[in-house]
């Protein structure tokens, strides 16, 4: 981190150059108008200083032509500013389809970052050079803001909402990662470092950590640790090949229905098992709501999915993954439960 006399932060992402160009244009415009105003004032107060106490200047009440000029010209300039800024903004909110997906959870005063290959890191983000990276962000408590000045990017991390941002690192090095939205006492300590490495170094780093294993194997360990196999071996419903298949369930007030065992169903059965009981089995499964963390639930779901060998890839999510827009009066779409078609191949 060189601490020389900087005017501009280093540009290390694909839009950094464009944002800097736009800012130079804006600085140019501002400089022009500032000098125009300051110059005019200085010139007038010298040229028209009061020469005698009784001096009475000739009154000028205004000129509509002049007024129109300094209404229309600023209007045109602002239209250009708007268009240029909007172009960058829209581009920055449409990631390419081949972007590498990284899942970021903001938690009070630390960043938990999870790579697709399962590698997890705290307050650090390793990204390969030149590879488009899409971050999917959410928060566990208050609003944070994932901001990387060198990439000229920031996106609020809102609890209860998936927001996303994407970039293409263009320069190897270590860059600041700040939390930009006030989030409590240690808001100033919620910082991190973004390491941009060459693809080779990145793979090396990725492979370097033995503990990192794909979530499904982590899920397998959890499955054993919490004794799930003791029931789901014989008494409880078998989980092999369960994912994606219809299941006969009776919900609490005795209505028997078939439900597709997607992530939402798996997740609900882990956290609130009594809501849907598989036909033919007693309602004896304990709730794991208070014992399992979010990552563990995701790992378990991955493990169950690996039992049936399925991996569902989700479509592009759009700029901010906010609260679901309830289908107001339309017939509820059975085949589109929120969680199902969101990619979770951790």
């Amino acid at each position: 981190m060189d601490t020389g006399f900087q005017l501009f932060p280093r540009a290390a992402s694909q839009i950094a150059g464009q944002v800097d160009a736009l800012v130079l244009f804006l600085i140019g415009i501002s400089l022009f108008f500032t000098l125009l105003i300051f110059g005019a004032i200085l010139w007038f107060i010298i040229r028209y200083r009061r020469r005698s106490p009784g001096e009475r200047p000739k009154q000028i009440h205004g000129s509509t032509a002049l007024e129109l000029t300094w209404t229309i010209i600023p209007l045109l300039i602002t239209v250009v500013m708007f268009a240029w800024g909007a172009a960058i903004f829209v581009k920055a909110h449409h990631p390419p389809d081949d972007a590498m997906e990284i899942f970021v959870i903001g938690k009070q005063w630390m960043w938990k970052i999870q790579h697709p290959e399962g590698r997890r890191e705290i307050n650090a983000l390793h990204v390969p050079l030149g590879q488009p990276v899409k971050l999917t962000l959410t928060s566990q408590d208050v609003i944070h803001d994932f901001s990387i000045p060198a990439f000229r990017l920031k996106q609020d991390v809102v609890p209860g909402l998936y927001t996303s941002e994407w970039f293409v690192p263009t320069r190897i090095g270590e860059y600041h990662l700040f939390c930009d939205q006030y989030c409590g006492a240690k808001h100033a300590e919620m910082q991190g470092i973004v390491y941009v490495e060459s693809p080779a170094d990145y793979q090396h780093w990725l492979a370097g950590d033995p503990s990192a294993q794909p979530p499904s194997s982590a899920g397998k360990k959890l499955f054993a640790m919490y004794g799930c196999e003791s029931c789901h071996g014989q008494y409880g419903p078998t989980l092999a090949g369960l994912y994606g298949t219809p299941v006969q369930v009776t919900d609490e007030h005795g209505v028997r229905r078939t439900v597709i065992a997607d992530e939402a169903y798996l997740r609900e059965s882990i956290l609130y098992p009594s809501v849907k009981i598989v036909v033919g089995y007693p309602n004896r499964m304990p709730s794991f709501k208070s014992t399992l963390s979010e990552e563990q639930v995701l790992d378990l779901i991955e493990f169950i999915k690996s039992l049936s060998g399925a991996a569902v890839v989700g479509p592009y999510q759009g700029p901010s993954l906010g609260p679901a827009t309830q289908p107001t009066d339309a017939e509820p779409k059975i085949n589109n439960p929120p969680f199902a078609n969101y990619r979770t191949n951790q």
């Binding site: 981190m1 601490t3 900087q6 005017l7 501009f8 932060p9 839009i15 944002v19 736009l22 804006l26 415009i29 500032t34 105003i37 005019a40 007038f44 107060i45 028209y48 200083r49 009061r50 020469r51 009784g54 001096e55 009475r56 000739k58 000028i60 009440h61 205004g62 002049l66 300094w70 602002t78 239209v79 500013m81 708007f82 240029w84 800024g85 903004f89 920055a92 208050v142 803001d145 901001s147 000045p149 000229r152 920031k154 996106q155 609020d156 609890p159 209860g160 927001t163 700040f178 939390c179 930009d180 006030y182 989030c183 409590g184 006492a185 808001h187 100033a188 300590e189 901010s320 906010g322």
Partner: protein
Amino acid sequence: MASIPYIPEYTVETYLNERHTVASWLLTKDHKRIAVLFMISITVLFAIGGSAAVVMRLQLLTPHSTLVEAETYNKLFTLHGVVMVFFFLVPSIPATLGNFLVPLMIGARDLAFPRINLASWYLYIIGSTLALTSLILGGVDTGWTFYTPYSSTFSNTHVILAITGVFIVGFSSIFTGLNFIVTIHKMRCPGMTWFRLPLFIWSMYATSIIFVLATPVLAITLALVALERILGVGIFDPALGGDPILFQHLFWFYSHPAVYIMILPGMGVISELITCYSRKSPFGYVFIAMSSLAIAVLGFLVWAHHMFVAGISIYGGLVFSMLSFLVAIPSAIKVFNWTSTLYKGSIQLDTPMLYALGFIGLFTIGGLTGLFLATLGVDMHVHDTYFVIAHFHYIMVGGAVMAYMGGLHFWWPKITGKLYPEVWGRVAAAILFLGFNLTFFPQFILGYLGMPRRYYAYAPEFQVYNVMSSCGASILAIGYLLPFFYLMWSLKYGKAAGNNPFKAAGLEWTTASPPPKHNFLKTPIAGEPYAYHEMDFSDV
């Protein structure tokens, strides 16, 4: 201009010496006394907010200073924000100069509802007492924006007390706005048509529209946050089904028009100062007046430019960015018209004029940097950094406070009947201008380098600019203390000011200073505004 013969002011009974009992001040219905009461209470609050700022600047001298820990620093910037925004900037010009001058400038004996005006002061006192009690009991650490779910669920500081204080002071400004609107509509003296109104009155009218139409939404939003905090229900807390972005929508629906509440009165003061000290009628009077209204109305359409990165949709970003550029145009018109008013004038650089010219310069920079923030592409980078801090301080401190100081000096003879020392005034204005620029210009660079706001410690490479900023802050502090001293000094030793010491046009300068209880001995007849061509400057 019907000019009233000059009456030595000591023989006539003025609003200051008609009665001296404490009750005559605390239960007064005279708009001039209420203005003075506001002036005192606002100065006290400004001092509290300012001292918080000084401690923050000292903390930021070094990257990891231990002057104050994290929690204390968070409480300091919240206090600085809440006190400066709700208790100083919003009421400063309307409640002091506005209360004093609106009836005088339109030739009325008093505001339409004097008792409501006094109630407004009492609400202000109750509100500020509550806010300061929350400070004494341990302070609030949510920032003046009270963003949920932090303020409603996660913060364990005195949020409800502070919210009640701000809720009550909101009604104080509603009452002021109500009073001004009805007074300007119904109590103008004969001959005072709408387009003969002084431009200060136009800006007061526009500010009152915002007071009346925006403040209630803040009141209800803070009430919802307090409700959520007390009952633990999830209005804005996503863990309980709420939506934090809804809070931001409702909060900024008030808070952006609130920044126009802060700047519009300043613009009104500047129009008066520029015309008086260049002895010229304003260039494009109608355009300046209408741009005040345009700012007030357009100000309500732009609030979500505070939320470009908060998770709103692209549609929202595009619409609000476009509207935010529209609201910049009327401000540009005003700046161009002020500068043109100087053309071919007879300019005298007295203290108020220095403040006015300082205002125009700094407001121009503040306004132009606002365009950076309204541009979507750039806001992605500079949102919630020191760039934003520099921008709004250029508008609020460089603009609103500079105008408040200019207005205070310009009408000080009319309010107190005493002249302030001219030389000291100019020295203070110069110090203020220099100190201000040294404090806030480096923060633009800090912001673009990416230093986030509300950080009590920062990365070492930002230290150079922070040190410059802290030095500037100390000069700025001196710049504010100086006027306090020589204005107090002038109360006793200042020369007696006649009716119109600065040869300004306006009905308030036709009556005695300080004016009698009912402002005018007989109801004036208003002629052309800014009639500097008819005025006789012989006896200067």
